[in-house]
Symmetry: C2
Subunit: 432 residues, 2 copies
């Protein structure tokens, strides 16, 4: 396959759907992939490049010559162009932009005027807008005459006034079933979403979900239409945010497809370092009770059971809370109700597992005092775990931080401290 048969490869890729072709290329190892892109050069279809996963796309753009990249940019919708320009180093980006015609250049640079992770960065500047007084017939005729100026894909016609302010929208399905002589103003619907250019992409994604949208207009602060967001870009945002939450909960910094060992270490070592400190804090708690540990060695054997179960209960509550916050189910009164519910859940599970642990410990060591100690400690730790599993993320949220990041370390440290303190403290009272 790798005997440099460029034409065979180009033909193979052309036969596949771009997404499938991209999948195929991604299955190659790093070096083979670069060699392959290098070989194809300008022949690698643009549509495949944009389908590649982030890290592969960056690699491909790196390998391709400037003029090939410039040619690629000319063919794409503006949101895809922004994506590729983001991958480039600044000097190279300037060089490539210089190769383009001035008017293209100006429009491409516009996308960069908006901050990262905003609706402005995500949107495309191509859309189909029409004034209120146009009829259905006129709108369709206009679309036929200016077929080339329309975006490749769109689901609504946006209705604007002379000042370019957004008045409403007409879904294409509505346009299709309406007689030619009806005015757009008679069939247009209100735009339910309210997405501004500078809005966080997460907020825009939330509106897409809430109103079940396939696309939505993007306006500036004066209500003027300046772009369009489509659901495929929004789905990517939703996936990204979900991945961030899941990884953050396990103490991994947002990895952008970390494919090397160095990337992995960089994204994980910081939280392990924090954990190193908190683990020694928990050790310091144990050290306070060195005396009783020295006398009753069984305490050292059972101690991790209390910590493990308490930590597990805390993580469960935390995961539920982080999810509920992400889906905006924790606003207003719901937050207070959740704290009560989680604490009561801790209490209920505490009763169940205090009894369970007590029985097993008694069966093992035949000491009613030891059994009582671990039961009471288990019970206290569960209630505490339930409470901190919800209060920590809610507090982080209220402080304006991401509730998924860092809360795991906090909750586990809090439950560890409670577990060791209550178990060894009680042991000092009961057993010595």
């Amino acid at each position: 396959v790798w005997d440099r048969d460029t034409r065979w490869l180009a033909r193979l890729l052309a036969r596949l759907h771009p997404a499938d072709a991209a999948d195929l290329l991604e299955q190659l190892s790093g070096d083979d992939f670069a060699a392959c892109v290098d070989l194809l050069g300008g022949q690698l279809p643009t549509s495949i490049i944009i389908e590649l996963r982030d890290e592969y796309r960056e690699e491909a753009v790196e390998v391709l010559p400037d003029d090939a990249v410039a040619a690629v940019l000319g063919e794409l919708d503006s949101d895809d162009v922004t994506t590729i320009l983001e991958d480039l180093e600044e000097t190279r980006r300037e060089r490539i932009l210089d190769e383009l015609a001035p008017e293209d250049r100006a429009s491409l640079e516009q996308g960069f005027a908006y901050e990262e992770e905003t609706a402005g960065r995500l949107m495309q500047r191509e859309y189909f807008a029409a004034p209120e007084f146009w009829t259905v017939g006129h709108t369709i005729d206009h679309a036929r005459e200016h077929a080339d100026d329309l975006p490749a894909e769109f689901f609504e016609v946006y209705v604007i006034d002379p000042a370019h302010k957004l008045k409403g929208q007409v879904p294409l399905a509505t346009l299709l079933r309406t007689p030619r002589d009806i005015n757009l103003s008679d069939i247009m619907e209100e735009v339910e979403s309210d997405i501004r250019v500078e809005m966080d992409q997460e907020e825009a994604a939330y509106q897409f979900q809430k109103y079940s949208l396939a696309s939505a207009p993007v306006t500036d602060d004066n209500g003027r239409l300046i772009g369009m967001l489509t659901v495929d870009d929004v789905v990517d945002v939703i996936q990204e945010e979900n991945t961030e939450d899941l990884l953050a909960l396990s103490g991994v910094n947002a990895a952008d497809g970390s494919d090397t060992v160095l990337d992995s270490v960089k994204s994980r070592a910081p939280w392990l370092a924090v954990n190193l400190v908190t683990a020694f804090i928990a050790s310091a708690i144990i050290a306070i009770f060195e005396g009783v540990l020295d006398q009753v060695v069984q305490l050292a054997i059972l101690m991790p059971v209390v910590a493990a179960l308490g930590g597990n209960a805390g993580s469960q509550g935390l995961a539920v809370a982080v999810r509920a916050i992400a889906e905006r189910e924790m606003e207003g009164d719901a937050g207070r109700r959740a704290i009560l519910r989680e604490t009561l859940t801790g209490l209920a599970n505490g009763v169940i597992f205090a009894i369970g642990v007590g029985i097993i410990a008694f069966a093992w060591f035949r000491s009613p005092e030891l059994s009582l100690t671990i039961s009471v400690a288990m019970f206290a730790t569960f209630i505490w775990a339930g409470f901190s599993g919800i209060v920590v993320p809610l507090t982080l949220k209220r402080a304006g931080a991401d509730p998924a990041v860092a809360s795991s370390v906090f909750v586990l440290t809090l439950t560890d401290i409670m577990a060791f303190f209550s178990f060894l403290g009680l042991a000092t009272l009961i057993l010595v």
Copy 2:
């Protein structure tokens, strides 16, 4: 507000977008919500009911009288009808279906012929299909004449042959910009997705993401068109699957918005019970080394540090692996490369944190032997954590199980056992 002013309430809700009205109702406490639905009765707009979150919708349908529910069903697209019928108990479902006209009834029951969580359950049976030989003009005229039979929202016209087999699709945007006399067969594109009725909804959602779709046709095994999936339903599936993964990783069984303490206990106690068993297995490992623990109490103080850091490293690798599997980045060769990468990451972090832990332990206890013991144990545990964090989910996946469920408990147990065994085992060799 709660002075039973039905008309005021009905007017308020009618003024809001259904999704916003549903949000408002959800902010009420359980009893107020039921009272409110009861009060409104048949006046509660259908569009609001379908926007309510699962548990509220079930509650609402429970409170409403049969004829109100039957009326609701008549107004909705078939996928929404299926959602509501799913909420009902079987006897009541039968009774409500009996109230409907026989032809409605038959079509409603069809949705139930497909299994839960398949594309068939999720799809709607309304779509717009046209034969190949129709022109653009004829298609638009047909849509105008049969405006009422078309689905409320659609983005493509599906092209079928006389046997109702799917031949291709024409996006509405393409239809709009094409002159009236062109045949559909000249502008239709190939359907890239291949979604069958009995396909798992997760697989269908994957195709939506891969091909950036807004809607897609659903076919039976003979390639005949029988329904349509739209992206808003798919986004809900994506969110559901993400939530399941995140909760499963923390040992919470798929909670359907568990709002009561009993629900919470039910969804969490099973994994805590498993953890109870595994925690005592780890204790048994410690018990083997009772002798050395009795002699050197510092071991009991430092033991949890090794377990906590090792567990954290394992969880990090696990989260990355579960995410990568969900996004299908672990197929073929990629899996083997990931195992190597994770083990090497464990080795690299192992070196860093073995040194860190060793230095802190030495500063605290001034014993080079103890410091050496904890360093070597930490190093071994990290490598083991990296390895098991990836191998456990991959093995579960290969065995056909969900890699997110249960893997957390396995990985933590494996790292605990390794931590205690290596630390106390080495201590026996070096310190005694």
